[in-house]
């Protein structure tokens, strides 16, 4: 049960509004003493006065009393019918879900059939047989809506019964009745209460509609639908006559819908942020990027800082990240999930999620034309020309990265035609060439398959083929093998290696992974990321052989390596890194890794380390205790503190 304390704030207004609209009609005797059915023809269509606040209708009856009493009738019919439908439907649904078998068939098929009758027509059919009246209405509405409840209960209960704790209590021999009432019902109360409100609103609409046709509530008993019907002929002289019942009806339905929407949001909060196509925020600060002189350099990330506003105040998710990507070189970006390695690459593509913005730093790219551009400040059109042409990207999930309803051929052809003016048949021939290049047998035939007809490895080959469309200078591969089987992983890595060697114009590959074993195979340089920062960077062979940062060391030690004979020497134990990386909003002072660091010192909490370059400038590390760190740093600080 919901206590007053955790009653959600967003539910307060709709709940109060709904309660008021339900209570007011039923407090009619407190509001007016007038009789809703007493006719006084002398005063027909009289204007409002002190006794009759809303005036009188076409028979001289008090309109306020009629609206209030009419509300009682509409609400009673709707809520009684909905409650009956709810009880019967839930009962059938629970039985169907718990015992399955034939009862399952009845509950799921019944609603299909009832859905085929437009509700108001089914109501009319029954009215023909039984005559109009409130009782008929209740019966019809209950029959109309109980299958919907049965269906929802059935599918929701099916979901819940397969949950572990229900299976467990069934195995423990808890009686069915207790499992159903005590465990399943409370767990499906959310969707049912939403459906209850929806049904009540629909029932009011149908009741008033039938009464409007003169086939619902029998006169002289008041009802909103009837009041609109009666006032229709006089709308010219007396517009108030239609406005009042219309307003009452709309307001009531609106209150129920409003309540229902908020209830749904509260029960099932879904963020509105997607990864695919958000509006990209423009960078905050303009910074003059240093010119790239070396023609071998394809892209430079300089002191990049990305911020998110998701936690209220802006918090850095990426901080002080600098990377230089060169032609004919593979740079591996390594780290745990959440370390910011994917975000860094998405920033290069201009594909950052909407909640994250570039706060400072620069992203530069040398285009195929030789022109150097700052990616943060390009207009949308230029960025579209660069994506897929100068930079291409392969994503982690081949199963979801291709559009399931378009053929492979269409998806490849549109990528080609986006950058090269080419006829469709030429583009298709080119696409087949690309598929052959990535090792797809029978490419002529398979190009016309849909993604769902292909395995994960095949789809990743398609993705790679698509990325090669325009011979990009920079190829970003974001964990391209993580979602694949081990044997397929090796094939894809091998393919990437071959492609690097084949491509004439000096491909620069940015390879993002959490798997250091792969790094040893493919990378020339490695950058290790932790909690939004690069903590160690340098030539791959040096770093893997002799890591200087305790985090890199821990990563290498936790790798189940079969490469270097480390395997099984100390009982297959993985020295896992204890703890978890800090959230962007809760990074500790000083070094971000110190909470998990086996060699942390008190000083590590006070000084925020930067990347300290080695003497030869080949590598750098962000650790106060590393050999690269200035020798005096720790001592000086200690004396200062003392």
């Amino acid at each position: 049960m919901m206590s007053a304390r955790n009653f959600p704030k967003r539910m307060l207004l709709p709940s109060v509004l709904l309660a008021a609209l339900i209570i007011i009609p039923f407090s009619a005797p407190l509001i007016t003493a007038e009789d809703p059915i007493k006719i006084a023809v002398r005063y027909r269509l009289a204007a409002p006065d002190l006794q009759h606040w809303l005036g009188r209708d076409e028979f001289g009856r008090d309109r306020l009393a009629r609206v209030l009493h009419g509300g009682q009738v509409s609400l009673t019919v709707a809520f009684v019918a909905t409650t009956i439908a709810f009880i019967i439907g839930t009962f059938f649904g629970l039985i169907g879900a718990y015992f399955r078998g034939p009862s399952e068939f009845i509950t799921s098929r019944l609603s299909d059939i009832v859905l085929c009758f437009p509700p108001i027509l089914l109501a009319l059919l029954v009215v023909t047989l039984f005559g109009p009246g409130a009782g008929t209405l209740v019966a019809v509405l209950s029959v109309l809506y109980f299958p919907t409840f049965a269906r929802i209960t059935f599918s929701e209960a099916l979901r819940v019964t397969s949950l572990d704790f229900v299976e467990a209590s069934r195995a423990l021999g808890t009686p069915s009745r207790r499992i159903v009432l005590g465990t399943i019902l409370p767990n499906i109360a959310g969707p049912l209460s939403v459906q209850y409100s929806l049904t009540a609103a629909a029932a009011i609409t149908i009741e008033s509609g039938l009464s409007f046709l003169g086939l619902g509530v029998v006169p002289p008993a008041p009802s909103w639908g009837q009041m609109i019907r009666g006032a229709r002929q006089f709308m010219n002289q007396d517009p108030l006559g239609i406005m009042i019942p219309c307003a009452a009806l709309v307001l009531t339905i609106y209150a129920i819908n409003f309540f229902c929407d908020r209830l749904r949001d509260t029960l099932d909060p879904k963020g509105a942020s997607g990864s695919g196509m958000d509006e990209v925020s423009k960078p905050l600060a303009l910074a003059d990027a240093p010119a790239i002189r070396d023609p071998n350099v394809v892209a430079v990330i300089n002191k990049l800082r990305l911020e998110t506003t998701r936690f209220g105040t802006p918090a850095a998710v990426i901080e002080d990240v600098s990377l230089t990507l060169r032609a004919n070189e593979c740079t591996a970006l390594v780290g745990e999930s959440g370390s910011g390695k994917s975000l860094s690459s998405l920033a290069l593509m201009g594909l950052l999620p909407g909640a994250i913005r570039q706060a400072s730093g620069t992203l530069q790219l040398r285009r195929k034309t030789g022109e150097v551009v700052d990616l943060g400040f390009l207009d949308a059109r230029t960025l579209e020309n660069i994506r897929g042409n100068d930079i291409a990207m392969i994503f982690q999930e081949p199963m979801t990265s291709l559009n399931p309803i378009h053929k492979i051929s269409d998806q490849m052809i549109e990528a080609i035609q986006a950058h090269r003016p080419m006829s469709k048949s030429d583009a298709r021939a080119h696409a087949i060439q690309l598929l052959k290049r990535v090792g797809m047998n029978d490419a002529e035939r398979r190009i016309d398959s849909y993604p769902d007809q292909m395995s994960g490895g095949m789809r990743q080959r398609v993705m790679i083929g698509m990325a090669l469309t325009c011979e990009p200078r920079l190829l970003i591969a974001d964990e391209p093998t993580t979602a694949l089987d081990v044997t397929i992983q090796a094939e894809i890595i091998e393919l990437l290696q071959t492609l690097r060697q084949d491509q004439g114009n000096g491909l620069s590959l940015l390879f993002i992974t959490h798997n250091l074993g792969v790094v040893a195979d493919i990378a020339d340089r490695v950058a290790v990321m932790y909690s939004g920062q690069i903590v160690e960077e340098g030539p791959a062979n040096q770093i893997l052989r002799d890591p200087h940062h305790p985090y890199t060391r821990a990563l290498i030690e936790s790798m189940p390596s079969s490469h270097e004979g480390l395997h099984s020497t100390d009982g297959d134990r993985l020295p896992a890194i204890s703890g978890t990386p800090p959230l962007p909003s809760a990074r500790p002072s000083g070094c971000a890794f110190r909470d998990r660091c086996p060699i942390a010192m008190p000083t590590c909490a006070e000084i925020r380390p930067v990347l300290y370059p080695s003497a030869d400038g080949e590598r750098a590390v962000r650790c106060l205790r590393a050999p690269e760190a200035p020798a005096g740093l720790m001592k000086n600080h200690q004396t200062e503190a003392a």
Binding site: D112, I113, L115, C116, F117, P118, P119, I120, L121, L122, L124, L125, T128, L129, F130, A201, T205, S208, G209, F212, L213, L215, I228, R232, M235, I242, C246, L249, V250, I253, Y254, N257, F258, A272, G274, S275, G276, M277, E279, L351, E384, N385, R387, G388, A392, F395, E397, T400, S401, L402, N403, I405, H406, E414, A415, A418, H419, Y450, D452, M466
Partner: protein, 317 residues
């Protein structure tokens, strides 16, 4: 593909049979004598002779199984029998009035799709933005206005106050095309706006969902123009769910058409239906409901086939 279509058609035919059976058995399970029931008005009952006549006329004196088979046979031949009020052929009345109802529905649906799909797409693409907040608020309000209330208010504003359009009535297109179209505007607007609220909601939700999928990111990464990404990789994917929901909501749409036709004095199926219900002309009511249900099932069959054309996963399974 062919197998898929024939499977769906068989399912639709089975559904029709079930509906026919339900409508038929309603008269059988009604307590008391149906003929007597249908002829009773208020408290008084009809003469024995009239009851016997009706029984013979509707075949109620036959054994139930014979009645059932005759009913199905005649229905399949589109012969709905005669009205118990004026003994006229029900089939020919329906043939006369059905096109007028379909005209409103088609015009209303076109209006709804043209209005709601662009608006829903724009709102979904920039969910949380100003346009989204404004349109979603208007939509929530419109959702709460029943069709007959909207129709009544339209008559008041557009016909009585502004005098732009006729308050109702019908002139055949052949007699006076301009006047016919003028009279069509308000009814189809009323039906269409109601449908538009549903389509808007569905489009917005569907676009919002599709927008977050990985393949959209791939499409952007390929360097496609924004317009093309929206059209081919968001909207095209969203279309299947949208039309499926629209199809299911058509039942409610057909129902609200009954009220809308009544309000505007549009002589379609619903005028026939309402007077038949008032006069307890069961054969006519039965025929109208069978017709409408058949249309509903037919439309959903077409939509099933359409969405399988849109999404290969449906026909591959």
């Amino acid at each position: 593909m062919l197998a898929f279509i024939s499977r769906r058609m068989a399912a639709a035919a089975a559904m029709l049979l079930v509906i026919g059976t339900i409508i038929f058995s309603l008269l059988i399970i009604v307590p008391g004598d149906p003929a007597e029931l249908l002829l009773s008005t208020g408290g008084g009952s009809a003469s024995a002779e009239a009851i016997a006549n009706l029984r013979a006329n509707m075949g109620l004196d036959q054994p139930v199984l014979t009645q059932y088979v005759t009913f199905l046979y005649n229905t399949a031949r589109l012969d709905f029998g005669t009205s118990i009020v004026d003994n006229g052929s029900i089939s020919s009345v329906i043939a006369l009035r059905l096109p007028r109802t379909l005209e409103i529905i088609v015009a209303g649906t076109i209006f709804a799709l043209l209005l709601a799909i662009p608006a829903g797409t724009a709102a979904g693409l920039r969910a949380g933005g100003k346009f989204d907040i404004a349109t979603s608020a208007i939509n929530a309000l419109l959702t709460s206005v029943p069709g007959f209330v909207l129709g009544t208010l339209f008559i008041y504003f557009f016909a009585q106050i502004l005098g732009w359009l006729p308050a109702g009535g019908y002139v055949a297109f052949a007699t006076n095309p301009a006047q016919h179209l003028q009279m069509l505007v308000l009814p189809s607007l009323t039906v269409g706006l109601h449908l538009a609220t549903i389509v808007f909601r569905m489009t917005r939700a569907s676009v919002l969902e599709m927008r977050g999928h990985d393949w959209v990111r791939t499409a952007v990464a390929k360097g496609l123009r924004r317009k093309r990404v929206v059209r081919r990789h968001i909207l095209y994917n969203a279309l299947g769910p949208i039309i499926t929901v629209v199809g299911l909501q058509l039942g409610i749409l057909l129902g609200s058409t009954v009220l809308v036709e009544f309000i505007y004095n549009w002589p379609g199926l619903s005028g026939l239906l309402v007077s038949a219900v008032e006069q307890r002309d069961y054969p006519t009511v039965r025929a109208v409901i069978l017709t409408v249900s058949t249309i509903f099932i037919g439309i959903n069959l077409v939509i099933d086939i359409l969405s399988s054309l849109l999404d290969p996963r449906i026909r591959l399974q």
